[in-house]
């Protein structure tokens, strides 16, 4: 560091005064105050003029000279001066125009085109799968022929009751890749299912397998009963207004539970009446599924049919042979009944009740049966809703050769459904991540 020789008089660079006093600058390290050393000296000793504390370190950090006019300067500054270099580099100023400079029309056009491109890309990204998604029955599908149509309907899923059995049943169908309709009770015990942990599990299943699992509404509480109606019915015999209220509330509860709007209704005890069907239509349902014994009795109909603008898909077979005590059909009988329907090219709608499958033996029997139905050639599996949709849209026809079904490359869902599910699926998949056991699921064999 250069300093002026001791015999050179200090001159103030501001006013040229030669009356200059040299001193030290002191910093109080605790608060950062920097002042001439003289300002720290008090009667009580060294005190910071800023924070009034004498704690902490006081450090001499530099030398400053003060002239009689109060100008401060550093004598150590080298006295030899050189001319300054060029002014502000002009090339830096050419790149950017000042704020709010008038914008050329070229720039405006480029702006609009660029932005439109960006947003179009955004929109296009959201619907880029559109060529693969067709609304029902349209476009690039083909007619396929099947020997038999098979539907599995699982009645009574509800929270807080044998959830492990429900998981076991779902696992069977998911692992076998066979569609299943879950007929969910919306208000068991008069409490809505929305917001329960049960719903999280259902949403997860739906998110992971949107084309395999359908959720239907199974009555209202499932315990109300009109005793005067056939076998005691929750809906049959009830006033139309009450039925409509139950149908609407049940739909909302299941919708909020699983995140998708259900369009299939499964009446408890397989019984209902014309008011049920009329009010179903008014509340947005499309398909009803009871049992053939009832539709034969009430409508003199068996098989799938359309009445009052609603598609009726009655169940044809039960898994339970007797209810008290519970006894399931044995394998031989299950095999015989299915073979019969298969040979006759029938629509086979199998009802199961998940609560029955609470032992490993029964689960294995279910799995065996599902695999048996899969082992047959030309079997088409559907959910209840899907079958109903085909009938409404006339994309399924019975022929001598079997059942002709129009199949497009998309699933049963519309473009809007698909988009909706893709993002809802995002949410449900997020839910999956939070569960350690589910995170491991794809990596392990079950």
């Amino acid at each position: 560091m250069e300093s002026s020789p001791s015999n050179v008089e200090a001159v103030c660079p501001v006013c040229s005064s030669t009356n200059v006093v040299q001193g030290e600058a002191v910093e109080h390290k605790k608060c950062g105050c920097i002042r001439p050393a003289s300002e720290f000296q008090t009667e009580e000793g060294t005190v910071c003029p800023e924070c009034r504390s004498h704690d902490g370190e006081f450090e001499h950090i530099g030398t400053l000279s003060v002239c009689s006019n109060g100008h401060r300067f550093d004598e150590q500054a080298v006295s030899i001066r050189q001319p300054t270099s060029d002014t502000t580099p002009s090339e830096l100023l050419d790149h950017d125009s000042p704020i709010r400079q008038s914008t050329s029309w070229t720039r405006r056009i480029v702006t609009v085109v660029l932005v439109t491109l960006i947003v179009t890309t955004g929109i296009g990204g959201a619907v880029f799968a559109a060529p693969y998604l067709q609304d029902d029955g349209g476009g690039d599908g083909s007619w396929e022929t099947y020997q038999s149509i098979v539907v599995f309907r699982n009645d009574d899923p509800q929270p807080y009751y044998q959830s492990e059995a429900l998981s076991n049943v779902h696992d069977v169908f998911i692992e076998e890749g066979v569609p299943l309709t879950d007929a969910v009770i919306p208000y068991p015990g008069n409490e809505s299912i929305a917001g329960t942990e049960f719903c999280n599990r259902l949403r997860t299943q739906k998110a992971n397998h949107p084309d395999l699992i359908e959720f239907a509404v199974h009555g209202y509480t499932h315990s109300n009963r009109q005793p005067n109606f056939t076998r005691g019915s929750e809906f049959g015999g009830l006033s139309a207004e009450k039925q409509q209220a139950f149908l609407r509330q049940g739909k909302e509860a299941v919708h909020r539970c699983v995140g998708n709007e259900p369009t299939t209704f499964v009446p408890p005890r397989n019984t209902y009446d014309n008011n049920t069907v009329r009010k179903m239509k008014a509340t947005g349902y499309e398909t009803i599924s009871s049992h053939e014994w009832f539709t034969k009795q009430y409508y003199n109909q068996t098989g799938v049919f359309i009445q009052n603008d609603v598609t009726h898909v009655p169940s044809t077979h039960e898994f339970v042979e007797q209810w008290g005590p519970v006894k399931l059909y044995d394998r031989a009988e299950l095999e015989r009944r299915f073979d019969e329907a298969y040979q006759n090219q029938e629509i086979y709608v199998q009802t199961i009740h998940y609560t029955m499958f609470n032992t490993s033996d029964r689960i294995e029997r279910l799995r065996w049966f599902v695999q048996y139905t899969k082992s047959k050639e030309d079997v088409k599996f559907m959910t209840v809703g899907e079958l109903g949709r085909h009938f409404r849209q006339d994309t399924i026809r019975k022929t001598d050769g079997g059942w002709r079904v129009y199949e497009s490359s998309n699933s049963e869902y519309t473009t809007a459904d698909r988009l909706e599910m893709s993002v809802k699926g995002f949410w449900q998949r997020i839910a999956v991540v939070s569960r350690a056991e589910r995170v491991m699921l794809p990596l392990t064999e079950r």
Binding site: M1, P13, A25, E27, K29, C31, G32, C33, I34, P36, C51, H60, G62, L64, R72, D74, A77, V78, I80, R81, S85, T87, T88, P89, L92, H95, D96, P98, I99, R100, Q101, T103, V110, T111, L114, V115, I118, G122, G124, G125, A126, A194, G195, T196, N200, R256, L419, E420, S422, V423, K424, G425, F426, W427, R429, I430, V432, V433, V439, P442
Partner: protein
């Protein structure tokens, strides 16, 4: 009326409004429950901001009602509520996603909206006119040989009355030729002083000893000011309520991916977020590369303190806490940004560590300043940015990675395109306002994935360092010129 209509920048308005399309699509494909949940929480935030504005502007007697703490409680209740009714799964990742979405919506439809309005009203456009205040320009320098002379030359060439300008270069104990370079400048308006090395805050406080102007301007030793910067910088001080003024920072080194990313980051930051803050007069950082302060205000708040690494942030908050406003001007300064990832890491580590230190130091402001937009809005937003967003970013990245592993490529791609398009719109708006290069918005995807995660990772590390008491010291980037030499 017609003149007002003609003065509107319709392109900027169009750019802003265009985001309604991707937002509407996003809402359309989401379930009604999710939209409702977002709506509830967004409504809470919006209501709070509107209430805060009214309280600060005219109803100070109600400042104790619906405070930031109250907002926190309300949001907690809101989240609990939407989970309880089943709109959102009761899962950590889902709640993080929900809150991140809400903040995203809030950022665009409140912060960006205010910025657009601020731009349309031309609020930063001050008209500098005589008489001009006397200014003392402090240039703290540590090992800035090769830079300081250019900086001083630019300041001498800037348009300002010579008799009202003095430039003081403070050499903070450099071990190169910085002091010699500064001392050699042949101008009566330039003073070079030298002290023992003590840090930037110390150099600035030392420089104040020699400053005689009514306005103190600080400039970094590696920055070049625009010729009209000084006049524009002091113009806002015509308003007596203004305590400090921030300049606009522009990046000089360009052409590399990393420098272009930072350039875009600065452009968006200054033309969106800072405009919102300026609208309320609560710009929270007067940058060290170009800022101005009233001399008496500096003395009143005891200038720079030694207890943070970001003395500029700390000082600005002290000025705001004193009741004065801090504004943005149109004064421009050109500076270098780090051009290697290591240098950028060092720079941001210091910034973020300093930010946490400063926020902890001023935590009381949030608790007590219920009658200012600083305590009610600016600092809580800062807290969310610093304590929530970095973690949320990485949580969401983990979820996205998991979804890709599961095969949900379509869903991930669609969502990324949505968010990228909105970020791109914001960058295009900022570019349009700035008048900068049009290729920069192409980097928008990296602000959704990549660059953002790098910055957030550094932020998380900084928080960890501060919380665990890791020894923190000044980490700086090596200058391009010095690296080449």
């Amino acid at each position: 009326m017609i003149r007002r209509i003609l003065s509107i920048d319709w392109i900027a308005l169009f750019l802003f409004a265009l985001a309604a399309v991707p937002f509407a699509l996003l809402m359309f494909v989401m379930s009604a429950d999710t939209v409702a949940a977002i709506g509830v929480l967004f409504g809470c935030l919006l209501g709070y901001v509107v209430w805060s504005y009214l309280v600060v502007d005219r109803w100070q007697q109600f400042s104790g009602v619906f405070t930031p703490v109250g907002l926190g409680v309300l949001l907690l209740l809101g989240i609990t509520g939407v989970v309880a009714v089943g709109w959102v799964p009761a899962l950590f990742t889902a709640i993080v996603q929900l809150f991140a979405l809400v903040m995203f919506v809030f950022f665009y439809w409140v912060i960006v909206l205010v910025a657009v309005y601020h731009y349309q009203r031309d609020i930063t456009s001050y008209d500098p006119k005589p008489p001009y205040e006397s200014i003392s320009i402090l240039i703290p320098a540590y090992n800035e040989e090769g830079y300081v002379e250019k900086t001083v030359s630019g300041l001498l060439a800037a348009d300002y009355p010579d008799d009202k300008r003095e430039i003081i270069v403070i050499d903070d104990g450099s071990d190169d030729g910085t002091f010699k370079e500064a001392s050699s400048i042949d101008s009566e308006h330039v003073t070079a002083v030298r002290k023992e090395n003590g840090g930037k805050y110390s150099a600035l406080n030392y420089g104040l000893l020699f400053a005689e102007g009514d306005i103190v301007v600080v400039v970094d030793a590696d920055s070049i000011v625009h010729p009209d910067a000084l006049k524009k910088l002091v113009a806002p001080f015509d308003d007596e309520s203004v305590g400090a003024v921030a300049g606009q920072v522009k990046v000089t080194n360009r052409g590399k991916l990393l420098t272009d990313l930072q350039r875009l980051e600065y452009i968006v930051g200054m033309n969106v977020y800072r405009r919102m803050l300026d609208f309320f007069g609560i710009v929270t950082i007067v940058p060290g590369c170009l800022g101005a302060f009233r001399r008496d205000v500096l003395e009143e708040v005891s200038a720079y303190d030694p207890d943070t690494l970001t003395e500029d942030f700390d000082l600005t908050l002290k000025i705001l806490e004193s009741g004065l406003t801090v504004r943005v001007s149109e004064a421009q300064v050109y500076t270098e940004v780090p051009d290697t990832w290591r240098d950028l890491y060092n720079q941001r580590l210091r910034w973020f560590r300093g930010n946490f230190m400063t926020v902890f130091k001023h935590a009381n402001t949030i608790r007590k300043s219920n009658d200012s937009m600083l305590g009610r809005v600016a600092l809580p937003i800062r807290l969310v940015e610093m304590f929530f967003v970095p973690f949320a970013t990485w949580v969401i990245l983990g979820v996205i990675t998991w979804l890709l592993v599961q095969g949900a490529v379509v869903e991930v791609a669609a969502l990324l395109v949505f968010f990228t398009s909105i970020i791109a719109l914001i960058t295009v708006f900022a570019i349009h306002v700035e008048g900068a290069a049009w290729y920069l918005p192409l980097y928008a995807p990296l602000f959704v994935l990549g660059y953002k995660h790098f910055l957030d990772a550094v932020m998380i590390k900084s928080l960890k360092d501060i919380v665990t008491g890791t020894s923190v010291e000044w980490t700086s980037a090596k200058r391009v010129l010095q690296r080449e030499n």
